[in-house]
C-alpha cells in the first residue's frame, strides 16, 4: 500500500483490503489488552479493583455519614460516588490520551482508526467495570428495578464518554503546561463537593442549589437517581440548561475523537 507523508497528514492511499482490516482488528485487541494489563499490573485481583473502587469509596463515605449522623441514603451515595469517580477517571484518561500514540507497537506505524477504535472499546469496558459492581449491589441488595439498573449502566456509559471528551480537549494544553493536571485535580475535588454526588440535590437550598444547577454532573446523577426510583430533582431542573450542557459536551467529544489524527501527527515533533 502507498503511504503519503506530508506536514498535514500521514495517509494511506486506496481502500483497505480484508487482510488489513483483520490486522487492524488484531491491533485493537492488542492495544486494549495491553492497557488493561497495565492497569491490573501484578495485582492479584487485577481488574476487579476497578469494580471494587467505587464500592469501597462509597462505603468510606457512608461510614463518615454515620459519624456525622447525616441522613443520606445508601443508594444516593452509591449512585453519586460511582458516577463521579467515573467522571473523574474518564476525564484524566482523556487528558492522558496523547501520551502514547504508537499503541505500544514500536516497529510499525498503526493507523489512527486502530487507536480510535481501541480508545472507544476501552472506554466502554472501563465504564462498565466501574459501574457494574454498584449496579449489581443496588439491584440485588436494594431492590432497584431492572429498568433502573440498566438505565444506570447506560448513564454511566454516557457520562464516561462525555468526560473523556472534555479531557481529550484539554490534552494538548496539558502537554504544553504539565501543571494543568494538578489544577484539574483541585478543580475536580471542588466539583466533587459542589456537586450532588454525596447528597441528593433536594437536600440543598439557596446558593447551593443554584450552584448545583450550573454543574453538568447534577443533571446526569439526578437523572440516574430518578430512573432508579430514588429521591431526585431532575423534573424541577431547567431542561434548557441540561440541553445546553449536553450539546456542548457532545460537541467536545466529537471534536476530541476527530482531532486524534491531527494531534497525533502534530505532536510527533514536540519535545
Amino acid at each position: 500500500m502507498e503511504r503519503v507523508i506530508t506536514s498535514k497528514s500521514c495517509k494511506e492511499v486506496g481502500v483497505l483490503g480484508p487482510e488489513e482490516i483483520k490486522l487492524d482488528r488484531n491491533r485493537m485487541k492488542f492495544i486494549l489488552k495491553k492497557r488493561f494489563r497495565h492497569l491490573s499490573g501484578r495485582k492479584r485481583l487485577g481488574l476487579v479493583w476497578i469494580v471494587l473502587d467505587p464500592i469501597v469509596i462509597s462505603l468510606v463515605y457512608l461510614f463518615v455519614f454515620t459519624v456525622l449522623r447525616a441522613s443520606t441514603s445508601v443508594q444516593t451515595v452509591f449512585i453519586g460516588i460511582t458516577l463521579f469517580r467515573l467522571t473523574q477517571n474518564s476525564l484524566k484518561t482523556g487528558m492522558n490520551s496523547i501520551q502514547d500514540f504508537t499503541g505500544g507497537l514500536k516497529a510499525e506505524r498503526v493507523r489512527t482508526r486502530v487507536l480510535t477504535g481501541s480508545m472507544i472499546r476501552y472506554r466502554i469496558i472501563d465504564n462498565l467495570l466501574q459501574s457494574l459492581g454498584v449496579a449489581l449491589i443496588l439491584y440485588i441488595g436494594y431492590e432497584v428495578s431492572l429498568f433502573g439498573t440498566v438505565s444506570f449502566l447506560i448513564i454511566a456509559q454516557i457520562i464516561g464518554f462525555l468526560s473523556e471528551g472534555v479531557g481529550m480537549n484539554l490534552a494538548p494544553l496539558s502537554k504544553k503546561i504539565p501543571d494543568l493536571i494538578n489544577v484539574v485535580n483541585y478543580i475536580l475535588m471542588i466539583l466533587f463537593f459542589a456537586a450532588p454526588a454525596l447528597y441528593p440535590l433536594s437536600s440543598t437550598q439557596g446558593i447551593h442549589y443554584k450552584l448545583n444547577e450550573l454543574h453538568p454532573f447534577t443533571y446526569f446523577v439526578e437523572s440516574a437517581r430518578y430512573l432508579m426510583g430514588e429521591q431526585s430533582e431532575i423534573l424541577n431542573l431547567d431542561n434548557r440548561i441540561f440541553g445546553f450542557f449536553l450539546v456542548v459536551l457532545v460537541l467536545l467529544i466529537i471534536r476530541g475523537y476527530s482531532l486524534i489524527d491531527k494531534l497525533r501527527w502534530r505532536m510527533t515533533t514536540w519535545s
Binding site: M1, V4, I5, T6, K33, L105, A107, E108, S271
Partner: protein, 256 residues
C-alpha cells in the same frame, strides 16, 4: 506517416507509472523541525522554539536497493528513518513509500512485562500481521534463535536486558517488510549472540525488498550496501555508491 498521439500518451503514462512503481521511497523537498518547549520570564506559559533537524532532502530509493545512511551523531539519520516510517511529521515536503515499512530501532517491538516471552511473541505476532497458520512456525523460529531455554516461558519482567534484546531482535527480524529501516541495532547480547544476529540480519535484509541502514559500522555498509548517503547537520552531503560514500565520510570525520 501520421502519429496516433492518444496511443503515445497512454504509453508514456504507462512508462511513468512503471517507473514510479519501481521507486520504493520518494522523498521530495523534505524538511523536519523539532519543536522544543521553553519557558522564560517573558513567556511564563512557554513557547515552542524550532530546531531544524532535516533540510530540503531530495532522494529517490528504488525497489530492492540497499542504502547505507552515514553521518555523525546528530546528523539526522534517525530522524530521517523515523520520518520514512511515518512516525515523525515533516515541516514541509513529501515522502511517498510503497509497501509495508518496518523500523528496526532497538529491540522492543512493544513487549508487555506482565506476560511470558512466549505469550508476548504470540500476541505481538498477531498484532504485526502474522496469520494463525504461520504462528507456530513463527514462535518456534524466535524461540530457537533467542535460545534462552525454559526462560522463554517465564515472566518477561524478570528478563535481563540481553534476554529481552534476543527475543526482540529475533521477533523483528522474523517479520516480512517491503521496506526495512534499520537504526544501529546490533548492540545487544554477548559475542556469540552477535555472530548469530549478524547472520540473521543478513537473511532478513535479503528477504526485505528495500533497505536503509543507518550505521557507524563502515564494514557492514561496505559489505551489503550498494548505495551510500552521507548526512551532515540535516543535509545530504553526498549521495553515491557505497564505497565512495564511505570514503567521503571517513574524509569528513578525519578532517574534523
Amino acid at each position: 506517416m501520421v502519429l496516433d498521439k492518444s496511443s503515445l500518451s497512454v504509453e508514456e503514462s504507462d512508462i511513468d507509472s512503471a517507473v514510479k512503481k519501481s521507486i520504493a521511497i520518494e522523498i521530495s523537498n523534505f524538511s523536519v523541525n523539532y519543536h522544543i518547549f521553553r519557558r522564560s520570564r517573558k513567556k511564563p506559559l512557554g513557547e515552542f522554539e524550532n530546531f531544524h533537524a532535516l533540510k530540503n532532502l531530495e532522494i529517490n530509493i528504488n525497489d530492492g536497493e540497499i542504502v547505507a545512511l552515514l553521518g555523525r551523531n546528530g546528523a539526522g539519520k534517525s530522524t530521517m528513518l523515523r520520518c520514512i516510517a511515518g512516525l515523525l511529521r515533516p515541516a514541509e515536503g513529501k515522502i511517498i513509500t510503497r509497501g509495508r515499512v518496518i523500523l528496526l530501532a532497538g529491540a522492543d517491538p512493544g513487549f508487555i512485562p506482565q506476560l511470558t516471552g512466549r505469550q508476548n511473541v504470540t500476541e505481538l505476532a498477531l498484532a504485526y500481521g502474522i496469520s494463525k497458520n504461520e504462528l507456530d512456525t513463527f514462535i518456534e523460529s524466535i524461540e530457537n534463535f533467542a535460545d534462552i531455554g525454559e526462560a522463554f516461558d517465564r515472566n518477561f519482567s524478570g528478563y535481563s536486558s540481553g534476554m529481552r534484546g534476543k527475543i526482540g531482535f529475533g521477533f523483528i527480524t522474523a517479520l516480512k517488510p517491503d521496506i526495512l529501516l534499520m537504526d544501529e541495532t546490533l548492540g545487544v547480547g554477548d559475542r556469540e549472540f552477535r555472530k548469530k544476529a549478524a547472520k540473521r540480519l543478513e537473511e532478513f535484509i535479503e528477504r526485505s525488498g528495500t533497505v536503509i541502514i543507518s550505521t557507524h559500522s563502515l564494514g557492514l555498509a561496505k559489505d551489503i550496501c550498494s548505495r551510500g548517503i552521507v548526512l551532515d547537520q540535516g543535509e545530504i552531503v553526498i549521495d553515491t555508491n557505497a564505497e565512495d560514500a564511505i570514503s567521503h565520510y571517513i574524509g569528513m570525520t578525519e578532517g574534523s
